[in-house]
Amino acid sequence: MTGLLIAALVVPALGALVVALLPNASDRGARIVATVFAAINLLVVLPLGLDRGHGRFWTETDHSWVPALNIEFHLGVDGVSYPLIVLTALLTLLCCAYTVWNVPEGGSGRTLAALLLVLEVGILGTFLALDLVLFFLFFEVVLLPMYAVIAGWGGEDRRPAARKFVLYTLFGSVLLLLGVLTVTVAAGTGDMGELAGGNGLSRSTQYAAFALFAVAFAVKAPLWPLHTWLPDAHTQAPTVGSVILAGVLLKMGTYGLIRIGVGVTPLGAHWAAPVLGILAAAAILAGALICLRQTELKRLIAYSSVGHMGFVLLGIATLTVTGLQAALLGNIAHGLITGLLFFLAGALKDRAHTGNLADLGGLRETAPRLAGLLGFAAIASLGLPGLAGFWGEAFAVVGSVERGGGLWTTLGVLAAVGGALTAAYFLRLLRKVSHGPAGPVVLKLSPAIAGPEWTAWAPLVVLVLAVGLVPALVLAATADPMQALTGVLR
């Protein structure tokens, strides 16, 4: 099993290398090779969930790396990271497969596929790392490939958007590095296992470190008002870029907040929780209200991420087991649903050559299947019970009310109101895009959905329903780690 941990990082890295070295002539062949590597990697990470040992982590591997600085190559997987790891491997595979069929304008397809695999290395490394410095390194690996994807294959205003993305998140990374150094210097180790529960860290160190972590992860997640890089980046990124960005990249922020923020500096988390909660509720409401006024399809979906991640962050901020579990589930659900939404938005924009809601009316007249899928994704995203989005959002509210007291009850109420507003903007979206008479743009678009598109979308559709009906798929092994996290605070 420990071999698989290493393999999960080596396979995509090797894949990226192979794809990059393949001769230029066989671009399509290179993309197929990339897809094969992504598929192999999904098969590599899936068995990690088979052996759920009795320790803190199901599987871990620990090698001394830079002994002088006490840096270890420590990887591991548990119930918290496993669903995210599988989601990453799955979305990378779907995106690579999609790239075989459709390469956005701007560069060669195989370079894009190789970059997707590099991204996978970084994201999987972030979710697997159990050493703070290692975590930071993987966290940074993601940055430049994503920049390249946006700047290389994006929409019309891709360069400013990519620059904003990279500078803004780099600012977050600086704070993360400071936080990591603060903790490792104070404790003499960066091992998350040893640091669990804030072991060996004084109260003031935890406060300072958490403040740094919180801002760093809040940029990534993103948390209002540190979110403004997101709409531009999502809107300008190519379809596969948006899918990866929304599907898993944002989760690095929330995962980091749970694993490191709450895990390593629990006192700091407890101290700052009200602020986080207030900002999360503000994100939910502001995201929803802004979405009500959006006129561009991808931008609307991008802003909806702000609201949805607000629910995840609210769940974390409650520091209750209920809220944290809701956050973990919300993470996965958002990855699946928003991934699907961005795929559909991309397909729509490819066909109609516009994302302007005013021009897209009447889709169900000419392309009933596409409209149906968009309707499904939108209804899932507004948190319809029985689909994946419901659990995370409803139980973030429950967790908040459970925490009790005036502040948290108010935040729960506000979040519930935000849920109604979420319905409002998604219904507005459907009304504009799906209903009404078909305009000239929509009348011209081709309704047929290509085989590769089905291949990329069908798993997401099925998983949205499956996670909705069997939330235990994600939550099965999260109760104990979350108990451990919150147990420290009692």
């Binding site: 319809l384 849920g419 409002a424 219904l427 507005r428």
Partner: protein, 626 residues
């Protein structure tokens, strides 16, 4: 498999077949048949299982399994139903089955029939989930899936410009109520540590939670002030109106209060709120129904009013009367809507002002209407008479001290408004019958506007509908006429815990009011033949027609402020939050530019700066060394 687990099939089969039906390809012939078969089989199978359980199983049935845990809160799934719940499930199943059969003919040339039939199946399954779930989260799932399906179905008709807006309104208004519902559920399950209803009912009542749940109930059951979506929802195809009004959706709210009644019973505050809302709703619905020109809108407002009777019965402490009225209402309202569909299908308009004289050409439809409207108004011995009598008796009983769990004044409020509404109901029912079926035909060539959801094929002459539409109507006349006598069946009565009907002097007052209302409408009609009796209402007519302008109020107080807030926040996000970020970027590059420019100044200036720098450094060095 235990008997209780069999019950999971009741919501499970229509839900599953609905999902399968959504996958059917678009097309006319084969998919159409498959879709119809899936829809009809789903409703029939679930009805069959319900009947089996009702006849042969040992009740109450209970089956519960662990589903998932969030922290210390255990969520379960399962089936639980007593005889009363099975009765409701039968009503749902029967109406859904008839609606499915009827729709085959009604939408006979609609290319989007397949998703329609699948959505009806999902809708039915969701309602059955609300009725039979043993867990509050299961109820919530069915509750919201119904909202989504109502949205899809109301927005079904592509040719109605108002349909998409009506669909959004239906989902959104109920969703606003569901904010309360979700919070109420949250409070209840946090207290109990589980969402299993049988456990929740043993907890002490939590008034705030119960009040919050009432918000959701008001949304789903179209109670004041969240009733505004229901009249607009008439933009949906007529069979959908039948489904929404008769057995699903609006009944769900009443049913949930019934399900949680052991808690409500202990909270006079919650019952008082429910009672006041019910009294307002009864009158609001009845008065608004008096002046509608659209036949379906008359029926829609009558639903609002009749659901008020049910919540009123709940508020005065008689869940049995509420359920009884729910069952009879399901029968006669389904009948009325399906019969209205037959009228609309054949004359091509919803407007009463363009009907008239249909009695001769559509005798079957006419007599169905007579029975349906008679039951609605409460004419003995039709079904509505018995159940309404039950509600009135319960309310009258609650006006005596110690008569019920609610405060006495609530009893008075509900009783008086229910009594008053009896005559209004008789008035508008008579008006509807006269305007549509009596007098001379007011058909004209200008029929092209308005709700025309069924205008697929307009025959030269109005006639009774084809068999697939006629039979469901005819069969529904039976319960609409006779279901009231079930109150004399001991088994039925014990299941609902209903009192024996007592036909004493107390029924004289409602009957007098009924005769007065119907007589007034009749007199107005005969005094000036062919003129709308509603004109006699004078200036009040417009107020009633617009539902007391509450839509406008809602627009002013909720919709526009939210929009304005959206604009404000969007502007803030762009011009403050993002501008700060962009500003930090431009400031940095600006500073960089300045420094850059400083490095490129001409030689004399540069020499000056260099010497000045040397001087400063020298001074510091001297200062430090001394």
């Amino acid at each position: 498999m235990s008997t209780g687990a069999t019950g999971l099939l009741i919501p499970g089969v229509p839900l599953l077949l609905g999902l399968v039906g959504l996958l059917l390809p678009a097309g006319d012939r084969e998919p159409r048949r498959t879709a119809a078969a899936l829809g009809i089989f789903g409703a029939a199978a679930s009805l069959f299982v319900t009947l089996l359980l009702l006849l042969f199983a040992h009740k109450p049935l209970e089956f519960s399994q662990h589903w998932v845990s969030f922290g210390s809160i255990d969520i379960t799934y399962g089936f639980s139903a007593g005889v009363a719940a099975l009765y409701i499930a039968i009503a749902v199943g029967v109406v859904a089955l008839f609606v499915q059969i009827y729709s085959v003919a009604y939408l006979n040339d609609d290319p989007r029939y397949a998703p329609y039939a699948a959505q009806v199946s999902l809708f039915t399954g969701a309602m059955l989930l609300v009725v039979t779930s043993s867990d509050l989260i299961g109820v919530l799932i069915g509750w919201e899936v119904m909202g989504a399906c109502s949205y899809l179905l109301i927005g079904h008709d592509r040719r109605l410009p108002e349909a998409p807006a009506a669909a959004v309104k239906a989902f959104l208004v109920t969703r606003v109520g569901d904010v309360g519902f979700l919070l109420g559920v949250a409070l209840l399950i946090i207290d109990a540590g589980t969402s299993r209803i049988s456990v929740l009912l043993t907890e002490p009542p939590h008034t705030a939670a119960l009040l919050l749940i009432l918000a959701g109930v008001a949304g789903k059951s179209a109670q004041f002030p969240l009733h505004t979506w229901l009249p607009d929802a008439m933009a949906g195809p007529t069979p959908i109106s039948a489904l929404i009004h008769a057995a699903t959706m609006v009944a769900a709210g009443v049913y949930v209060v019934f399900r949680l009644y052991p808690l409500y019973e202990q909270s006079p505050t919650a019952l008082a709120v429910l009672g006041v809302a019910a009294a307002i709703t009864i009158l609001l619905g009845a008065l608004s129904a008096t002046s509608q020109d659209d036949m379906k809108r008359v029926l829609a407002w009558s639903t609002v009013s009749q659901i008020g009777y049910m919540t009123g019965a709940l508020a005065v402490g008689s869940p049995a009367a509420a359920l009884f009225h729910l069952l009879t209402h399901a029968a006669f309202k389904a009948l009325l809507f399906l019969a209205a569909g037959a009228v609309i299908h054949t004359v091509g308009t919803n407007y009463l002002s363009r009907m008239g004289g249909l009695r001769r050409s559509m005798p079957v439809t006419f007599w169905s209407f007579v029975i349906g409207l008679g039951a609605l108004a409460g004419v003995p011995p039709l079904a509505g008479f018995w159940s309404k009598e039950n509600v009135l008796t319960a309310a009258a009983h609650a006006t005596e001290s110690g008569g019920g769990p609610a405060p006495i004044w609530v009893g008075w409020v509900v009783w008086l408004s229910a009594l008053f509404a009896v005559s209004i109901t008789a008035w508008y029912a008579t008006r509807l019958l006269l305007r549509a079926f009596f007098g001379v035909s007011r058909a004209g060539p200008e029929w092209e506007i308005g709700f025309d959801d069924a205008r697929y094929h307009r025959p030269a002459k109005p006639h009774d509908p084809p068999g697939l539409m006629r039979w469901p109507i005819l069969l529904l006349t039976i319960p609409a006429a006779l279901l009231g006598f079930a109150a004399y069946a001991p088994g039925f009565r014990t299941a609902l815990e209903l009192d024996q009907p007592h036909l004493d002097v107390a029924i004289v007052l409602p009957l007098v009011l009924l005769a007065a209302g119907a007589g007034a409408a009749w007199w107005l009609w005969t005094a000036v033949p062919g003129v709308d009796p509603a004109l006699a209402l004078g200036p009040a007519r417009r107020v009633f027609e617009h539902g007391f302008y509450l839509d406008n109020l809602q627009d002013r107080l909720v919709v526009r402020p939210v929009r304005a807030l959206g604009n404000l926040i969007t502007a803030t996000d762009e011009h403050v939050v993002d501008a700060a970020v962009e500003g930090s970027g431009t400031t940095t590059s600006g500073l960089g530019g300045l420094l850059n420019a400083a490095h490129r100044i001409a030689l004399p200036g540069a020499a000056l700066v260099l010497f000045a720098g040397a001087l400063v450094l020298g001074a510091i060095a001297v200062g430090v060394s001394t």
